[in-house]
């Protein structure tokens, strides 16, 4: 119970933030907010000891018990690791933001409310054991991320980026919801733990593949995988603390988390292995390749994040291969370990790099790498941090990136040794692509740090005079950079405490407890193929980096029309224009068209179901004989109708209509309905008089006397409607299922109601309720006519409300 409430602490504090901002405006609101992630981080630290032994903690808060929906917080190795990342990096980011955002110029209350909302949502995503609440928190991260990207909402680019990320991630989120619902249909439970237990039964279900694909769509859109990564570079319009927090350390890892969490369920599927590994490796290559093209510091980091996420994703895919391997190739076991390990490493170095990019932006006024250079002696501390982060990103010792990259290469090399799922033929591609991608990673890492801090100092292109950032802003990146180095020297401590419990959660089919994960990380493990590959990466990378000015121009030749951003723009625009065109085609505004749609729709539905359901039948049983009067009246009626339709003059049509009305009254007479006949006569008289009135007041201009034009489609629809009504009437007459209740009225009209006129007694006594409202209708009609006539505005004045 308390454990569930921890998730909501940031959200509850968010309520107070505007108050603090308004009342205590001499203190930066961030200081109050800082307490939240720090407290939570401390709380979650207390769980480490037990969770690393393999214990799990669950707490439940019922939400909608009748629908079996409750908020379940489930803390195992994987969720705890993510929770610590969220609160730990969250603390550093809040600290950084205190110095980054000016307390007088910025709307801090908005910023911190969104940030805290996001923190809650993210904690909810990683701790939820319930599919529906997981989805709830998932969409909350999309919404709060949308708000944070659009934080500077008066900039066009911010709004565009926010909308784009919203469209893509929410679209993916909805797909994921579909996947969740299918999982529920298959397993009969919303609990992920229970689904994992029954995973072997799910594989053969027909819905399994669908749920797999839908769930992956959610994970890929959120984690910026190919081809959905396009929102991430545009999300760089957010304030830098947001980019550091959401778009490097936490939200983009929600998809990673999802894939890791569901690996035990889906690992049995070949499709899962290929999709996750394939899309991951493709994203890795694509992101690293295009990172070198960028000229914006945060753009480079965005593409680098995309690429690193692809790396983690491909490792998770490879970890699913271990499900099938049965110990044949032992090194594949490194995959899950490497994925989690790299996830931690990436959070540390990418967080620090984003913060440095923010510092450079803050102190020089630009993020354009073409204007920057030679800042090394001006900002030595920032340079050191940036260098540590970049070299770690490039995968060089003595930084933690080296270790995870080695393990990544180990896992990729292991993939080609499998002899199922087509790995014997295509498996060899993985290490090659990984190697090429690593070279590009190396290049952009160097590109990032040396183009910014080395080279020529260009003061004339900078708006501010650059100087070292205030110490408060530097604390967070320095701490992260220190972690980068520390992790290199104590990888096994990190491995035992954080990574192994998470690996056990990803691969419960391999390990019973975290201690069973038999992996030892060592910085030096002899001359192995992966070490040789790293040496190759460094040599080729350095050569290509030196030659960068010669070949960077090739990116410009890449046609703009073939980019994914262009495709996205075209799709959005096409949807906008295309849907507009479609609706403009049928929403003509002409009442005649709408009537045509309605009548043809009704006819098709009714006649169609008459025949599909085989409901049409004719029987003349119980029909009365036809006598002469009826025939005469029908002829008169037909003549009246024909006159109404075919008349050239409107006056004739009105008279024709009157004829029809009086004939109907005569029908009432011969069918023994004196009340109806009386009423019909009077009402017909009044309505003909009103018609004549309307006719008299027709405007002179349009009063041309001409016959109604013949139009085939209208004729067809009218005839169809007539046929429909006839068929329905015949069928209804031919199959009476229950006897009429008229007999009851006949018997009781005098004894119960004390009357002789059945019609009237029904109207006022048996079913007086109807009459009550009919006279109300009449009253309203009279009132409305009065109002329309009396309250009409004078045409000369008051035509505009504003006058």
């Amino acid at each position: 119970m308390l454990q569930v409430l921890y998730i909501f602490i940031p959200m509850l504090v968010a309520i107070l933030v505007p108050l603090l901002y308004k009342r205590m405006n001499n203190i930066h609101t961030g200081w109050f907010v800082l307490a939240v992630p720090v407290t939570l981080a401390v709380i979650y630290t207390t769980y480490i000891a037990q969770v690393s032994k393999g214990e799990v903690f669950t707490a439940e808060l019922p939400w909608i018990p009748s629908l079996d929906i409750s908020i379940i917080s489930y803390l195992d190795g994987l969720s705890l690791l993510f929770s610590l990342l969220i609160t730990g990096i969250g603390s550093l980011v809040v600290l950084y933001s205190i110095f980054y955002l000016d307390k007088h110029k910025e709307k801090l209350h908005n910023f911190y409310v969104y940030l805290l909302l996001f923190m809650s949502a993210m904690l909810g995503v990683v701790q939820s054991d319930h599919l529906i609440t997981l989805y709830f928190f998932w969409e909350l991260t999309s919404i709060s991320s949308f708000l944070l990207i659009g934080y500077w909402y008066n900039r066009d680019a911010s709004r565009f980026g926010a909308l784009k990320s919203m469209m893509i991630t929410v679209g993916g989120g909805l797909m994921m919801l579909g996947g969740f619902v299918l999982l529920y249909l298959m397993g009969g439970t919303y609990s992920i733990r229970e689904l994992i237990v029954m995973a072997p039964n799910l594989v053969d279900q027909p819905l399994f593949t669908w749920s797999l694909v839908l769930l992956l769509l959610g994970a890929f859109t959120k984690s910026a995988q190919f081809p959905f990564y396009i929102w991430l570079p545009d999300a760089m319009e957010a304030p830098t603390p947001v980019s550091a927090y959401l778009h490097s350390a936490t939200m983009v890892k929600a998809g990673i988390y999802l894939v890791a969490r569901f690996t035990p369920i889906f690992a049995a599927s070949e499709l899962w292995v290929w999709l996750v590994t394939g899309v991951g490796i493709l994203t890795l290559f694509w992101g690293s390749f295009f990172a070198v093209k960028q000229t914006d510091l945060k753009g480079i980091l965005a593409f680098s994040t995309v690429s690193q996420l692809g790396l983690i994703m491909s490792l998770l895919g490879a970890s699913a291969v271990a499900f099938h391997a049965n110990g044949s190739v032992d090194t594949i076991k490194f995959a899950a370990f490497a994925a989690i390990f790299h996830l931690i490493n990436h959070a540390t170095f990418k967080g620090s790099l984003f913060m440095i990019a923010g510092i450079v932006d803050h102190e020089t006024g630009t993020r354009d790498i073409r204007k920057l250079g030679g800042l090394m002696s001006i900002m030595p501390i920032s340079f050191t941090v940036a260098a540590i982060g970049s070299l770690s990103m490039a995968g060089l010792p003595p930084f933690n990136g080296f270790l995870s990259k080695e393990m990544f290469l180990t896992a990729m090399l292991a993939l080609q040794k499998f002899e199922f799922f087509g790995f014997e033929t295509w498996g060899a591609l993985f290490p090659i692509v990984a190697w090429i991608a690593s070279i590009f990673t190396f290049i952009y890492s160097f590109y990032f740090v040396f183009r910014t801090f080395n080279g020529n100092y260009k003061p004339e292109q900078l708006t501010h005079k650059p100087h070292e950032a205030p110490i408060g802003m530097l604390i967070s990146p320095i701490l992260l950079a220190a972690l980068v180095v520390t992790i290199f020297f104590i990888p096994n401590f990190i491995g035992n405490t954080f990574v192994k419990p998470a690996v056990q959660a990803i691969q419960p089919f391999l390990y019973d407890s975290p201690q069973a994960v038999d992996i030892h990380v060592s910085a030096w493990h002899g001359i192995t193929p992966e070490l040789l590959m790293t040496v190759g990466i460094i040599i080729v990378g350095v050569l290509l980096f030196v030659a960068l000015p010669k070949w960077q121009g090739m990116y410009q030749r890449f046609p703009q029309a073939l980019t994914l951003n262009n495709a996205y723009d075209k799709i959005m625009q096409g949807l906008d224009v295309g849907l507009n065109r479609i609706s403009r085609r049928y929403m003509t505004g002409s009442m005649r068209h709408y009537l045509l749609y309605m009548f043809s729709g009704i006819t098709i539905i009714v006649i169609g179901s008459l025949f599909v359901k085989d409901a049409f039948s004719i029987s003349f049983q119980g029909a009365s004989p036809i006598n002469l009067y009826e025939i005469i009246l029908i002829v008169v009626l037909l003549i009246g109708t024909a006159i109404t339709i075919l008349a050239k003059s409107r006056l004739t049509a009105i008279i024709g209509l009157g004829t029809v009305g009086y004939t109907v009254a005569l029908f009432f007479v011969i069918f023994n309905a004196p009340d109806l006949a009386l009423t019909q006569l009077v009402i017909e008289t009044i309505s003909v008089a009103l018609f004549l009135l309307a006719f008299y007041h027709l405007p002179k201009l349009g009063k041309r006397e001409e016959r109604m034009r013949f139009q085939l489609n209208r004729a067809i629809v009218s005839i169809a409607v007539g046929v429909m009504v006839t068929l329905v009437a015949l069928s209804a007459h031919s199959q009476k299922l229950i006897p009429s209740i008229a007999k009851y009225y006949e018997e009781t009209v005098y004894s119960l109601a004390g009357g002789g006129n059945i019609v009237n007694v029904i109207l006022v006594d048996y079913r007086g309720f109807d009459t009550l409202f009919e006279i109300t209708v009449l009253g309203i009609a009279g009132m409305a006519i009065l109002a329309m006539i009396k309250l009409r505005m004078n045409r000369k004045e008051n035509t505009h409300e504003n006058k």
């Binding site: 004390g754 006129n757 007086g768």
Partner: protein, 140 residues
């Protein structure tokens, strides 16, 4: 040109009474014979309309100083009132009661709450129809 409509007015003076009597007859006959509140109301309204046709609005208004909007409202009130009234006798909404009494002169007579309901219907119809026709004819 002044129109001499003395014939119309003279006939109207006689005919209106016949029409109004017929309306009242139809209203009261409704429970046992063709007629009832709706038709009765329509016939009464047509009598009034005939008056308006033969004379001008001011003259008729002087003779019959009713506001027909209020007549319609009164009708709806009567109908709803009988419906609600039944609630006070612990029976469902709109339950009608009737009884027969032996009056000294008229003999056996039927009394029924239905008559009040019908009166509501009739007054509404008269009010609404006259209001509609008056408001249209007063419009320019």
């Amino acid at each position: 040109m002044k129109i001499n409509d003395v014939i119309l007015r003279t006939i109207t003076k006689v005919v209106v009474f016949i029409i109004l009597t017929l309306g009242v007859y139809l209203f009261f006959a409704g429970h046992h014979a063709p007629g009832g509140g709706f038709i009765g109301g329509l016939v009464l309204a047509s009598g009034v309309v005939l008056l308006y046709l033969a004379y001008d609005i001011e003259t008729v208004h002087k003779g019959m100083p009713f506001d027909f909007k209020k007549v319609a409202a009164l009708g709806v009130l009567l109908a709803t009132g009988t419906a609600i009234g039944s609630l006070f006798f612990d029976v469902p909404f709109l339950t009608q009661a009737h009884t027969y009494i032996d009056a000294p002169i008229f003999g056996k007579m039927g009394f029924s709450t239905v008559t009040i309901f019908e009166a509501g219907v009739a007054l509404t119809v008269v009010g609404v129809v006259v209001t509609i026709i008056l408001s249209i004819s007063e419009d320019e």
